[in-house]
């Protein structure tokens, strides 16, 4: 291989697609490192504070696609303070200077500002795709800048962002010459939408395949859009609520049959059962259906629509579907790979309508099931053991029993054996979230069997430090560990410090780690940032005076080559 000219090596590397493989390839020898870095087109940075943007771009000057993630996952559940960090601007600024050929930018859980979006829009003449997921800090003004300056924009995908509404005109900023859109998703916007501008935009983009509308888009507008966009593959419906027996409703009923390519349906924000009938004609070809934002649709109506979806691969639904509805899923959706069941009753105060019965039914009826997110009121070991036997292909298994620390209601035992069966049977499991009453035993099983596990989320579980130690010593491929409200302390934290350099990050909140323990960790491992997040205003001004025995509410530990960050707010203290 050493005698091959660089062009040949580079050509061979073209076939090496995944980030991890390319990273590995670059460590073989200096020559390969050089060839690889100059030919790399896509870079994924899993933690924006693990490395500085300039360093990334200096190493990979030819990139045209960049993906960066910011806040830790628990930020989704309000556990990370609002202004903790994760700023996108330094990355945009660096790219503007060092990678002017940038075409794609994907940011997740970052703070993006209107200034950042405007800089982005003006700096990259070939810019084609912007994907923002769970970001915040920007408004529709920033979107207007993207619309104005990104000639040739193909994709604008806004998922679950908090966007400030400064008016509906941003859509009008797409010039008449913009005809290149392939994917437009603004489902997360809360404000009014300029229906006319939207309709004209859709009409002039013949390549549009994915369109996801916000709740403010009325059915009237939707009808006009659907009339012009019959090649859509992916549709987010907007509000989907209209009085039946109106002309608008009748038009809607007749809008869907002509969609031969439609495969994904979502939205249905305010959908009522009578409107849902409109999509029956396309159900038989659907592969993805997301009804999880439609609380007005009751179980019986969900069943009516699911009965038709026999090609479904991915289903997101509310627990109003009930065990009965899940039985219908099991008997109809034989191609199902991913199921997510969310609670209707957000505060989880009462009972939900799904139990272990629903999960059992789906596991036995859907042999291809490999990804699960399931909120339920209760779970039994027996059910989990059967699910494990039925579905050995799980790669993602996230179970949330709403009552923290709830045992098996039949035997009153912890759920150690059930989850143990899951990890023993599902050899390829990469992501696992635990819940219910769990002792250290479940962690023994996880450490022993979950060899491919990359991400583990633990809450209200375990009896002692041993639990965490089993995991740290066992799971070879662990990258992210997030723990809340568990009795793990300094002994566990410090048992295997080298492990943290093989991982992306560790989050611990409401556990038993102390300031002294964290200081020891930081001292032993200089290439980790040990962040203490202290929102208690009474104590953070007196950091230096806190005793080493002081228990820390929240810590975030991550490997980095960039040293302590310089944008940390007052309440974040990097040891």
């Amino acid at each position: 291989m050493t005698y091959f000219p660089e062009e040949v090596v580079e050509h061979i590397f073209d076939f090496v697609g995944s980030h991890r493989d390319r990273n590995t390839v670059s460590t073989v020898c200096k020559a390969w490192y050089q060839v690889e870095r100059l030919s790399r087109r896509t870079v994924f940075v899993g933690n924006c504070y693990a490395i500085g943007p300039e360093r990334v771009m200096a190493r990979f000057p030819g990139i045209n696609s960049l993906s960066v993630k910011g806040k830790p996952h628990f930020a989704d559940f309000n556990l990370v303070p609002y202004d903790w960090g994760g700023f996108a601007l330094p990355w945009i600024v660096a790219a503007a200077r060092l990678c002017p050929g940038l075409e794609e930018l994907r940011l997740k859980r970052m703070v993006v500002t209107d200034d950042g979006l405007e800089l982005l829009a003006r700096s990259f003449p070939n810019f084609k795709s912007l994907v923002l997921i769970s970001c915040e800090g920007f408004s529709t003004d920033g979107l207007a800048a993207i619309a104005t300056y990104c000639r040739g924009l193909r994709e604008l995908d806004l998922q679950e962002n908090e966007v400030e509404d400064h008016g509906c005109q941003w859509l009008s900023f797409f010039p008449d010459s913009c005809t290149s859109l392939v994917s437009l998703n603004f489902g997360c916007l809360k404000g009014e939408v300029n229906g006319g501008a939207l309709e004209r935009l859709v009409a002039r983009c013949p390549n549009l395949r994915s369109l996801k509308l916000s709740p403010a888009v009325s059915v009237e507008s939707l009808n006009k859009i659907l009339a012009r966009a019959s090649h859509l593959v992916d549709l987010g419906t907007g509000s989907f609520a209209v009085d039946h027996r109106t002309d608008v409703y009748h038009t809607l009923m007749n809008s869907f049959p002509k969609f031969k390519s439609l495969r994904n349906l979502s939205g249905f924000w305010d959908a009522s059962p009578c409107c849902l009938r409109a999509v029956y004609p396309v159900c038989t070809s659907l592969t993805v259906l997301n009804l999880s934002y439609a609380p007005a649709i009751q179980g019986d109506d969900l069943i009516k629509i699911i009965c038709l979806c026999f090609k479904l691969q991915k289903l997101w639904v509310l627990d109003s579907i009930g065990d009965k509805g899940l039985a219908v899923v099991a008997s109809t959706c034989k191609e199902l790979q991913e199921l997510r069941v969310f609670p209707c009753d957000i505060y989880g105060a009462g009972t939900t309508s799904v139990t272990e019965e629903g999960l059992l039914a789906v596991s036995s009826g859907c042999p291809k099931l490999n990804s699960l997110l399931y909120f339920c009121y209760q779970m039994t070991n027996a059910a989990l053991i059967t699910v494990a036997k039925n579905c050995p292909h799980f790669t993602r298994f996230r179970l949330c029993i709403l009552d923290p620390g709830k045992p098996d209601p039949v035997t009153n035992q912890p759920l150690d054996e059930g989850f143990g069966a899951i990890v023993r049977s599902c050899k390829n499991i990469r992501r696992l979230s635990l819940s219910g009453r769990l002792t250290d035993q479940v962690f023994l099983y996880i450490g022993m069997y979950a060899e491919r596990l990359e991400m583990l989320s633990i809450a209200f579980a375990g009896d002692s430090d041993k639990g965490m130690i089993y995991v740290l010593n066992g799971c070879k491929n662990l990258r992210k560990l997030e723990i809340r409200d568990c009795p793990f302390g300094d002994i566990a934290l410090l048992k295997n410090v080298a492990k943290y350099e093989t991982m992306r990050s560790l989050w611990m909140s409401s556990c038993d780690v102390t300031l002294g323990g964290c200081k020891a960790l930081a001292a032993k491992m200089p290439r980790l940032n040990v962040e203490i997040i202290n929102e208690n205003e009474e104590t953070y001004e007196f950091e230096e005076n806190l005793s080493d025995r002081h228990k820390l509410e929240k810590i975030y530990v991550y490997r980095t080559v960039a040293g302590p960050r310089n944008d940390a707010p007052d309440f974040v203290w990097t040891l």
């Binding site: 628990f74 989704d76 559940f77 309000n78 556990l79 769970s134 679950e160 962002n161 908090e162 997360c188 809360k190 709740p215 609520a241 009085d243 039946h244 027996r245 924000w269 305010d270 009522s272 009578c274 999880s292 934002y293 609380p295 007005a296 009751q298 019986d300 969310f342 609670p343 957000i346 505060y347 989880g348 105060a349 909120f375 949330c400 709403l402 009552d403 923290p404 620390g405 979230s433 989320s457 809450a459 209200f460 009896d463 809340r484 409200d485 568990c486 009795p487 409401s510």
Partner: protein, 168 residues
């Protein structure tokens, strides 16, 4: 109020001699398991921050829609005498009493609702539709124009024959 409180205290069952203030094992309250205390770190189970782990985006989206519906006053509970559970419907999606009745017939399955409007009376029917208005009074469905009905209806009740006849 205070007199009442001391009366209660006097008759309270206690461990310990009368006149002492030993800690009371109250029967009513749920005994917390020792592990629970450690784990919850003093937080009440009912509202723990970030639990259940639902994305705040999703929570906010539901909250906003629920608030809108509640402000508009259009989501109402529907109970049927004898049925094991209630339903909830959005009155805004129906154009009139006829659609409402049809929808409720769908929801409550085999029970027939019959003619329940005030004008036609309840003769021959097994059930009548009544609603609770803003003042808390139980009213027969159908007397007022639809728009007025939507804005004043807080809850619907499908009543069984014998009770219903009293309203007709």
């Amino acid at each position: 109020m205070e007199a009442e409180a001391s009366y209660v205290k006097d008759t309270e069952l206690r461990l310990g001699l009368p006149g002492t203030h030993a800690p009371v094992a109250t029967r009513g309250s749920k005994r917390a398991l020792p592990e629970d205390d450690e784990k919850s770190h003093g937080k009440s189970k009912a509202r723990v921050v970030g639990w259940p782990p639902i994305q705040s985006y999703r929570k906010n989206s539901f909250r906003a829609r629920k608030a809108e519906a509640e402000v508009a006053g259009s989501y109402v509970k529907v109970s049927m005498d004898g049925a094991p559970y209630l339903r909830k419907i959005d009155l805004r999606v129906y154009r009139g009493y006829k659609e409402l009745r049809e929808a409720l017939e769908d929801m409550f399955g085999c029970f027939s609702l019959g003619e329940a409007s005030g004008a036609e009376g309840c003769t021959g029917s097994e059930h009548a539709m009544a609603y609770e208005d803003k003042d808390g009074d139980l009213m027969l469905v159908g007397d007022v124009p639809w728009e007025m009905f939507i804005s004043s209806c807080k809850r619907l009740r499908i009543m069984k024959g014998s009770e219903a006849r009293g309203l007709g």
